[in-house]
Each structure stands twice: as structure tokens, then as C-alpha cells.
Symmetry: C2
């Protein structure tokens, strides 16, 4: 009885607060544009975004009419050929980019290779014969980076005669030196959800003649990304997380306008040729964003993404950021109430995500010794999150469809699971 009372008091208060927040939420109507079910709280949109309601009909039309009826004619008549740049321009305002600098296609990993090799070559082609030209220079990577970035950076360095040095993300600006050609930095740490000061690293590189590659996989669509304003040189991003493009939807590559004519891609496929249908034996790269293309784009995945991006019509990224922070603040408040001892040295969970707004992305990561089991038990109770080894629970908040009621239920269910495990 006493346990029930203890739990019910905060539950009633927090459920009421959630209801009030949802009522006042200016993005609340967006939730109806997604396929969600009331029995489930989906907090894994930072891994795979939910399905926007208009996508199934659009995909059906692409398959049945554009492919099935028009067939080859769709490359021109249905606008397939221009899709990579057209969709890039649709993403551009969400990441602070003017049109003409983003092209969609390939996976994030493939785009990391293009960007890191591209950035290295821009530095080498620059004036002056400094160390970066003589010995290839170094590529700094965030020591806690999403693994693929590190693996691909290593391959890029190996094939261009550079070397990789891993440094903790918060020391990266200080680590930039005269030999640093390129730094590959994550805007938001995929594990902890920490938001990095990428502008600071960018400035440090530009002072010494280096170039930056931003990885905005965990920030695009979740918070303001200011590629143009902060002087980003290259950026890569994912579209199946906060941009809801669908499983494995194509990634994107940003090349700053001033660098486009110097972008020397390691993947000069026929789609990036200035006259792709001339079928010329000599490679002449296209100008502008299309230079980042490679082979034939995967049209079904790409056009599903294009349709998914319609949910952003009329949405300002500022409102998204405000709601994201409100959601994660409220989540932390609920966790403190529902999980006895949360945050304490011996407590069952401890947040790995900074309290300060300026250092927080759109997820909360909780350290939890039995994270794998807890993730499974949450799933059994209808709360979908994910687990990153060894001991991290990731709760992702997608402002377009996550409600405050979702957040309250997730924290409450976490409390229930933890209490059941350690009665």
C-alpha cells in the first residue's frame, strides 16, 4: 500500500503536467501526421523515425505508376534524375544551408569517404607547401565517434597518405595544429546525446588552414544546424532518424558552395559527370552539388524520403528545438520522481547527457548496469528505446511526434521495471 501511494502521488502530478504541456504544444498537431499506436511509446526515432502517414500512398504510386507504367520514361517525366539535388534542397533549410549545396544518395559511410578525402584534397591543393602537403597531414577524429566514421576516416587516410589521430571530442579544438588537415566531428554524440560546439572546432581549423567535416546524423531534424553560418566545409547526415525517411533511406552530403569547384571526389561515378549521358571515356566533373553523386540513385528509398520530408512544411526548427529541450527536461524530472536514487552514485540509473541545454541534443542517455535486460523489459511493456553497449539506455525525443504523455509513461515504466528488478 505504502509503495502504491508513493508512486501514485508523483504519477498524478506528472501525468497532469504532461497533459498541460501537450495542450500547449504548438507542434502537437504534427503527431497526427505519423503512424503511431496508442499502446506503444516510441522513443527510438533517433535510430529509425516513425512512418509519416502520406508515405505509403506515394510509394505505391512510385511503384505502380512511375515504375510499372512509365518505366524508363520516369527518369525524365517523373523527375527521378533530379531527385538527389531536389531532395537535397528540401533538407537544406533544416540544416542551415542555402540551396544548391546538398545532394542525397548513398549511405552515411560512403559519404564520409567522399567528405574526408574531399576535404583532404582541398587542403592539399591549397597554396603553400606546408607539412600537410609534404607528409599528408593528419585527420582528427572524435575518440567516441560513431564507429563507422572512424573506420572510414582510417581508410580515407590510408588511401591518401594521411594519418588519423583520435582525440576526445571536447579537446578537439585544442588538438588542432599546423599538421591538422581535416577534423571529422560529430555534432551530437550518438551515445551520450551531448551536443558539441562544432563551430569552435571549425574556427580552430580555419585559423590553421584545415577543413572540417561535420557529421550531423544525430542533429539534422532535431535541432538547429548552422552549416552555412558557422563556415562548415563538408557535412554528412542521415535521413532515417529525425528526418523519418524510412529504413536505410539515403544519406546526404553538403559541400560548401565556395569549395564545390575544388571538390575532387574519390567516387567519381557517371552520375557526377558534367554530361552523364554523353558516355564519355574522360571524366569531367559536374559543377555544384551533383559532383557529390556517384551511381544510379535508389529511387524507391529516395522518393519515400522526399514524401516524408513534407511533414516539415510550415515547421520552424526553432520550435522543434524548444520542444525537444522541454521533452528532455521533463523526462529527467520524471526520472527523478519515478526512479528512487536516480542520479546517485549507487542509483540504478545515471544520466550521461549534460544538464545544460547548450550541450544537449535530442536524446537522454542513462547509464544502467543491466541496460540490455532493461531495454527488453521496457519493450515488453510497450516502451521502445534502444541499448548501446555496454551500459547505455538511449531515450530519443522526436519533437514532431513525441508527446509529453509519452515521456511521462516512459519514465514511469522505467521506474516500474527497475523496481521489479530490485525489489
Amino acid at each position: 500500500m505504502s509503495e502504491t501511494r508513493e508512486r501514485n502521488e508523483p504519477a498524478a502530478e506528472l501525468a497532469g503536467a504532461a497533459e498541460a504541456y501537450d495542450r500547449e504544444d504548438e507542434l502537437a498537431a504534427k503527431r497526427a501526421e505519423f503512424v503511431l499506436d496508442d499502446g506503444t511509446v516510441y522513443l527510438d526515432g533517433n535510430s529509425l523515425g516513425a512512418l509519416p502517414r502520406s508515405v505509403p500512398d506515394r510509394v505505391a504510386d512510385v511503384v505502380a505508376r512511375e515504375w510499372g507504367r512509365l518505366r524508363i520514361r520516369s527518369w525524365s517525366e517523373s523527375g527521378w534524375w533530379q531527385a538527389p539535388e531536389r531532395i537535397g534542397d528540401r533538407i537544406a533549410p533544416l540544416v542551415g544551408a542555402a540551396p544548391g549545396q546538398i545532394v542525397v544518395g548513398d549511405s552515411t559511410s560512403v559519404n564520409v569517404l567522399k567528405a574526408v578525402v574531399g576535404a583532404l584534397r582541398v587542403v592539399r591543393a591549397g597554396s603553400g607547401a606546408d607539412d600537410r602537403r609534404r607528409d599528408g597531414g593528419e585527420v582528427l577524429v572524435d575518440a567516441g565517434t560513431f564507429p563507422t566514421d572512424g573506420y572510414i576516416a582510417e581508410s580515407a587516410a590510408r588511401m591518401t597518405g594521411a594519418r588519423v589521430r583520435a582525440v576526445p571530442a571536447d579537446e578537439m579544438a585544442d588538438a588542432v595544429g599546423p599538421n591538422t588537415a581535416v577534423a571529422l566531428v560529430n555534432h551530437v554524440d550518438y551515445r551520450t546525446g551531448e551536443l558539441r560546439d562544432v563551430a569552435e572546432v571549425t574556427e580552430a581549423l580555419h585559423r590553421t588552414g584545415g577543413r572540417v567535416v561535420w557529421d550531423v546524423c544525430h542533429s539534422a531534424g532535431a535541432l538547429p544546424v548552422e552549416l552555412d553560418a558557422t563556415g562548415a566545409d563538408f557535412a554528412v547526415g542521415c535521413t532515417y532518424k529525425y528526418l523519418n525517411g524510412g529504413p536505410g533511406s539515403p544519406a546526404f552530403l553538403y559541400v560548401r558552395r565556395e569549395l564545390q569547384h575544388r571538390f575532387d571526389s574519390p567516387l567519381p561515378g557517371w552520375n557526377s559527370h558534367s554530361e552523364p549521358f554523353a558516355m564519355s571515356a574522360d571524366y569531367v566533373p559536374a559543377e555544384g552539388a551533383p559532383r557529390g553523386r556517384v551511381g544510379t540513385p535508389d529511387i524507391l528509398s529516395m522518393l519515400a524520403l522526399e514524401e516524408a520530408l513534407r511533414v516539415w512544411d510550415g515547421v520552424g526548427i526553432g520550435a522543434v528545438r524548444a520542444k525537444s529541450l522541454a521533452l528532455s527536461d521533463f523526462f529527467l524530472r520524471c526520472v527523478r520522481q519515478y526512479v528512487p536514487g536516480a542520479g546517485g552514485a549507487d542509483g540504478p540509473v545515471r544520466s550521461a547527457t549534460p544538464e545544460e541545454h547548450a550541450r544537449r541534443g535530442s536524446q537522454i542517455a542513462l547509464h544502467c548496469p543491466d541496460a540490455a535486460d532493461v531495454t527488453r523489459e521496457l519493450l515488453d511493456r510497450g516502451v521502445v528505446i534502444d541499448h548501446r553497449p555496454p551500459d547505455t539506455l538511449r531515450f530519443g525525443f522526436t519533437p514532431l511526434y513525441t508527446s509529453f504523455a509519452d515521456v511521462e509513461r516512459a519514465a514511469r515504466t522505467l521506474g516500474d521495471v527497475l523496481r521489479a528488478r530490485r525489489p
Copy 2:
């Protein structure tokens, strides 16, 4: 009147022959498994295959249920994670490969980079310090190759310290020398439809310690490809032509089993890690076919392809080859009847495709001075082919759905168009 009579005589005879061939065609029933319309003759399946009838429902289920309802759970519960190898094994029998050697994903161009760099590294890691180890060796490419192969081979060579030499395809076996590390050869020439003796080039390379990369884009699904039997080292192929996977469906990479543990990919993305979900900072490549993976696979395009491959159930590639040759033989016979002067030095069209069956793929290429206009006028009359600059008309025959009546109508319409242009 006399022109009409001259045209009607062969027309009646050839239409009758087409009808008889279609009646006897053991693959005729397959045509009903595709979305086709009677008003159109579609001979561009060598560019984009027609839509198999079962694909729309499958794609709708992937979108609405697997993505929409199960969301992140589908990576395990709907078998998304294993799709690249599972679909690779489905393609394997069509290209003469035992299971476990093919992985699906990325574009053909990206796979050419993996294969050429991979083959170069296998040669260099081999015993003996010959010239190919000291100076990087040479990569032979077919001088008439589909452009992207040449562009990407150039990039692969540049990033690994090798050099590219372009040689005519029919001189490639003779061109192999002690410095040749790798040859990248097209099984079927995309322009002329000529079938190459890839086995001969493979043997020449193996005698001198080199490795071969086959490009089977224009043969996979159209004729027997014997990767295992002929000792192919690496191969890349396309799935949206004769395999009907849909626009931009992912390509595939074959790495011969004996070489898999020596395959050192230039794109070591997290999907190719031995323990991808351990999120380790150190790259340890997976064993087997998964080593050819890179980033997150584009699930919508990939599962559409998987469904499309069901049309191959119960089909032997021998029957496909027999029908393909019968179709192209019949087409040439019809062209000779319907196009006065065809084949002559001053005639309106001249075949660029070899007469001998052993040197013919599954398309007929006709030289035609005003090819672009003729292609457009054929389209206006419901015959879809494509034009490759400067002066080639490509007629592609997809044995699973092209009928002899299609072929007769295409040749007859070509005759009509040419006569109308030069009365």
C-alpha cells in the same frame, strides 16, 4: 499500293512466325507475372526492367507494417539486417555462384571501387616482391567500358598507387603482362551488346598472378554467367536491368570464397564489422560475404528487389539464354525484311552486334545516323528502346517477358519510321 503490298507480304509471314514462336515458348507464361500494356513494346529492360506484379503488395507491406507498425523491431523481426546476404544468395544461382559469396548493396559504381581496390590489395599482399608490389602495377580496363567503370578504376588506381591502361576489350587477354595487377572487364558491352570471353582474360591474369573483376551488369539475368566455374575473383552487377529490381535497386558484389579472408575493403563501414553492434573503435572485418557491406542498407529498394527475384522461381538460365538468342535472331530477320537496305554500307541501319551466338548478349545495337530522332519516333509509336550517343539504337530482349510478337512489331515499326523519314 505497291509499297503496301511489299510491306504486307513479309508482315503476314513474320507475324505468323512470331505467333508460332510465342505458342512454343516455354517461358511464355512468365510474361503474365509482369505489368505490361498491350499498346507498348518495351525493349528497354536492359536499362530498367519491367515491374513484377507481386512487387507492389510486398512494398506496401514493408512500408505499412514492417516500417509503420514494427518500426525498429523489423531490423531483427522482419529480417532486414540479413537482407544483403540473403538476397545475394538468391542472385547467386543466376550468376553461377555457390551461396555465401554475394552481398547486395550500394550502387554499381561504389562496388567497382570495392572490387578494384580489393583485387589490387589481394595481388599486393601475395607472395613475391614483383613489380606490381614495387610500383603498384597496372589496372587494365576495357577501352569501350561503361564510363563509370573507367572513372572509378582511375580513382581506385590513384588512391592505391597503381595506374590504369585502357585497351580494346578483344585485345585484353593479350595485353595482360607481368605488371598487370587487375583487369576490369565487361561481360557484355553495354553499347554493342557483344558478349566477351571473360574466361580467357581470367586465365591470362591467373597465369601471371593478376586478378580479374567482372562487370556483369549486362549479363546477369540475361544469359549464363559462370563466376565460380571460370575462376572469377571479384564481380559487380546491377539488379535493375534483367533482374527487374526497380529504379536504382542496389547492386551486388561477388568475392570468390578463397579470397574473402584477404578482401581488404576501401569502404570498411560499420555494417562490415565482425560485431557491428559492439560499436567498437577498432575495425575487425566480418568473415565471408558481409565483409562487402558498408553502411545501413536501403531497405525499401532492397526488399522490392527481393520480391522481384521471385519471378525466377523454377526458371533455368539455359532456357533464358535459348529464348534470348531466338529473340535476337528473329529480330535481325525481321529487320532485314522490314528495313530496305538494312546492313548495307549505305543502308539506314547496320548492326553493331556480332552475328555469332557465342559473341552476342541479349540486345541488338543498330547504328543509325539519326538515332536520337528515330528513338523518339519509335516511342511515339509505342516502341520503347534507348539511344546511346552518338548513333546507336539499343533493342534489349528480356526473355522473361519479351514476346516474339513484340520483336516483330518493333522491327516493323522501325521500318515504318525509317521509311517515313526517307520516303
